[in-house]
Symmetry: C2
């Protein structure tokens, strides 16, 4: 299902849902972060997805990273809260979400890198390679916060 | 509307909603925390409520604390995430929520202490007075985490 992200855009549609979601900042041993080239909007993004019944939000990010990247990870910290009401995501089925995303720092425990149908490609990306990839500003902000290695989580 | 909290209870109803909420840990200058004696379940609790369209989650807690206590506060940090799927809240209108609550440390900027219709009483409570109040275990956990003054937010 295609998605369109709006940020601080007067033409954004009015939201009709808020669904908690989680993304994972997964790193290799060399300071690179794992990004996926998404099918739904042709942009590069952190792996992640929406919170389900029966799981905690930490379990959400562990499950989504496994599904989308093949890697088993554990959460080592919270990078930030991203709940800016000016960020709206419209889906083709009529759902219009106001973003509510938590971003977690993750460490790889095992598994084999393997993409699923939601992405065209997975890639380990160094900080100085970010400018060469098409990344939505709201996603780039989360990635930048990860690389900034903040002492306290971002509360946005 | 009356609510019933279930924690790790095999008789809890099956959840049909997840709604982000925020509570505030508001302190005076003497290390006490502000609690309200709730009308809906006759228990003592942190002030707070559910996230609305058009606001960030930090704006939610500032608004809810103002509505329920009369105080103007600012958020100074995140105490923790509380998303344990074993905590279920059933309302009399049929909604059954799986908890999704963020707890924030708050500093008083101004305002006058004044309760609203959701509570019977507001009280500044010292840590050693907590055992004398009826507090749900899931709420007590959040209050204890605040007093523990953790370096990193609790990720539950």
């Amino acid at each position: 299902m295609a998605r369109t992200d709006y940020y601080d855009d007067p033409d954004a549609p009015v939201p009709n849902s808020i669904v908690p979601a989680a993304v994972g900042c997964v790193t290799d041993g060399e300071g690179r972060i794992l990004l996926e080239h998404r099918v739904d909007n042709d942009l590069w993004a952190l792996p992640g997805g929406t919170h389900d019944f029966g799981e905690s939000i930490v379990e959400t990010v562990v499950r989504e990273v496994k599904e989308e990247t093949g890697l088993d990870v554990e959460v080592t910290g919270l990078v930030g809260l991203y709940t800016d009401p000016r960020h709206i995501i419209a889906y083709t089925d009529g759902e219009v979400r106001q973003q509510f995303t938590l971003s977690f720092r993750c460490r790889v425990l095992g598994g084999e890198l393997q993409k699923d149908s939601e992405s065209l490609e997975l890639r380990w990306v160094a900080r100085d390679e970010l400018d060469g990839l098409r990344i939505h500003p709201s996603m780039r902000k989360r990635i930048d916060h990860f690389f900034e290695n903040r002492a306290e989580p971002y509360l946005g």
